[in-house]
């Protein structure tokens, strides 16, 4: 996964910065020294590009110089504040394409269920936020820092609260293991080099946008299959830990597997994920006898919030 990026980066470095092949091999330190040389300290607090109304949440990261963000990303040691800031940008962009469903009761409900599930993981202190977005597409998304989305199209197919918990738990799993952040860390090096070749970023927001690519396209970028299988395993476990029926996520996967391949509502999901049947097969292997001693969980169908 990392290799192609490195190769491309090596070519870019060799081509544009006149580095010899030997230097290009040691990319980490080469890049670090370039960063030290080329990135000038930030002259002023840049807040012009901060979208109105979000200053409060981005305050901690805004105090850091942009090159620090870049360096931490390159080193693969992004702080939680930076992770949240990246996720916030992605979430804001996604919402620009698909707004929230206008139903306060629904949104509050999903946040309560989602947070309960997220609290079962090892990152309970992330600012977890959940939203149902107004699309008939059948899908769910996660962005770094704890932003989780489920489409109205997928929500409508759910039968009970445990199934909602299962879907959200899969997405929580991606955030817990920083799957999307790692994906960005692998590709942002190119953006970093781009920044050195003339077009300096005016602000961290610009830099973050550059790192995540165009708009919310990053959510349509597939993770590798193993990341999806891992999120499925975590999803089942978090659902079970929360007291729900551990087999709710598999039930949703089975349902999605029955949607026709050619149905446009699943084309993005099927493009970015292994087929549900493959995922269920992997889950069956992973679960095996491991959940035998876990008492049966609850479906919580009675209070499940139905779409209006």
């Amino acid at each position: 996964m990392k290799r192609p990026v490195r190769t491309v980066l090596a070519l870019v470095l060799t081509g544009f910065l006149g580095l010899g092949p030997a230097q290009a091999l040691d990319l980490g330190s080469a890049l670090k020294s370039i960063l030290k040389e080329k990135i000038k300290p930030k002259d002023s607090q840049q807040t012009l590009d901060t979208p109105p109304g979000t200053q409060q949440q981005v305050q901690p990261a805004a105090e850091k110089p942009r090159d620090q963000l870049l360096k931490s990303l390159l080193a693969g040691s992004t702080s939680q504040a930076d992770e949240v800031r990246i996720g916030q940008r992605i979430a804001g962009n996604l919402l620009g394409a698909v707004p929230l469903v206008r139903d306060d009761g629904l949104q509050r409900y999903v946040n309560r269920v989602g947070l309960w599930v997220a609290l079962q993981g090892e990152r309970p202190d992330l600012p977890w936020r959940f939203g149902v977005i107004d699309s008939e597409d059948i899908n769910a998304f996660a962005a770094p820092g704890g932003y989780i989305f489920i489409t109205k199209g997928l929500y409508r197919r759910l039968n009970n609260e445990a199934e909602l918990a299962g879907v959200l738990a899969h997405e929580v799993g991606h955030v817990l293991r920083r799957h999307h952040l790692k994906l960005l860390q692998q590709s942002q090096a190119i953006a970093a080099v781009g920044s050195l070749l003339g077009s300096k970023f005016k602000s961290e927001d610009q830099l973050v946008q550059n790192i995540i690519g165009n708009g919310a396209e990053v959510v349509a970028r597939g993770l590798d299959k193993d990341a999806e299988y891992e999120a499925d395993r975590i999803g089942v476990v978090l659902t079970a830990r929360a007291g729900y029926d551990a087999y709710a996520l598999p039930a949703v996967l089975a349902d999605i597997g029955h949607v026709a391949q050619g149905d446009k509502r699943v084309s993005l999901l099927f493009k970015t994920h292994p087929h549900p049947e493959e995922r269920l097969g992997r889950l069956a292997e992973a679960v095996d006898s491991h959940l035998d001693d876990v008492p049966a969980g609850q479906s919580v169908a009675g209070r499940f919030y139905r779409l209006r």
């Binding site: 919402l95 620009g96 946040n111 309560r112 396209e217 891992e230 975590i234």
Partner: protein, 174 residues
């Protein structure tokens, strides 16, 4: 016994989702009751057609080849439909007319996502709905949900690397 009854009630509640024809996705021992310790009724091969009858926790009751018994729920795939024609029929038969109306709608696509512009107002709306840990915990308690200790599941070994793991896996409860 009380636990069994309790499990049975839960199983009955969720029965409709799982009932119907299905296929076995791995070789399985058909058990006389939903437990690893239960006696083997029959050995079933992967790909066997089965009738899904009931569910109890992590187990599902099936009928296959004249035998009735229990296998792990994830070993069975329900064949609600097999082709697109059946899916469309199922979709059309839904009472919710909106579902039918959207069947021809295109889904989210990459172009749309690429062109997306940051929407600070929507993001702020989302912020409004955030739950606190106390709120979420109270809401869970209200539904009778209680936390259980469940370790993370290890990634299964790549296929074919442990050909002898099968028989012993049934040997005992861990």
């Amino acid at each position: 016994m009380t636990r069994m009854l309790h499990l049975l009630c839960l199983g009955l509640l969720t029965l409709p989702v799982w009932a119907g024809p299905g296929t076995l996705i791995k070789d399985e021992d058909l058990k006389s009751s939903p437990s690893v310790a239960a006696a083997r009724v029959a050995a079933l091969a992967k790909g066997s057609n089965v009738e899904i009858l009931a569910r109890q926790g992590g187990w599902t009751q099936i009928r296959a080849g004249g035998h009735t018994g229990w296998v792990r729920i994830l070993s069975v795939r329900a064949n609600t439909s097999t082709g697109s024609a059946a899916d469309i029929a199922a979709l059309a038969s839904r009472r919710d007319s909106r579902v039918v109306a959207v069947a021809g709608v295109r889904g989210l696509n990459e172009e749309e996502l690429k062109m997306a512009r940051f929407d600070a107002q929507e993001l702020q709306s989302m912020e409004r709905y955030r739950a606190t840990a106390a709120d979420a915990t109270g809401f869970a308690r209200a539904a009778g949900l209680s936390q259980r200790r469940v370790p993370y599941l290890p990634a299964p070994a790549p296929a074919g690397s442990d050909p002898n793991a099968g028989p012993n896996a049934w040997g005992g409860v861990q």
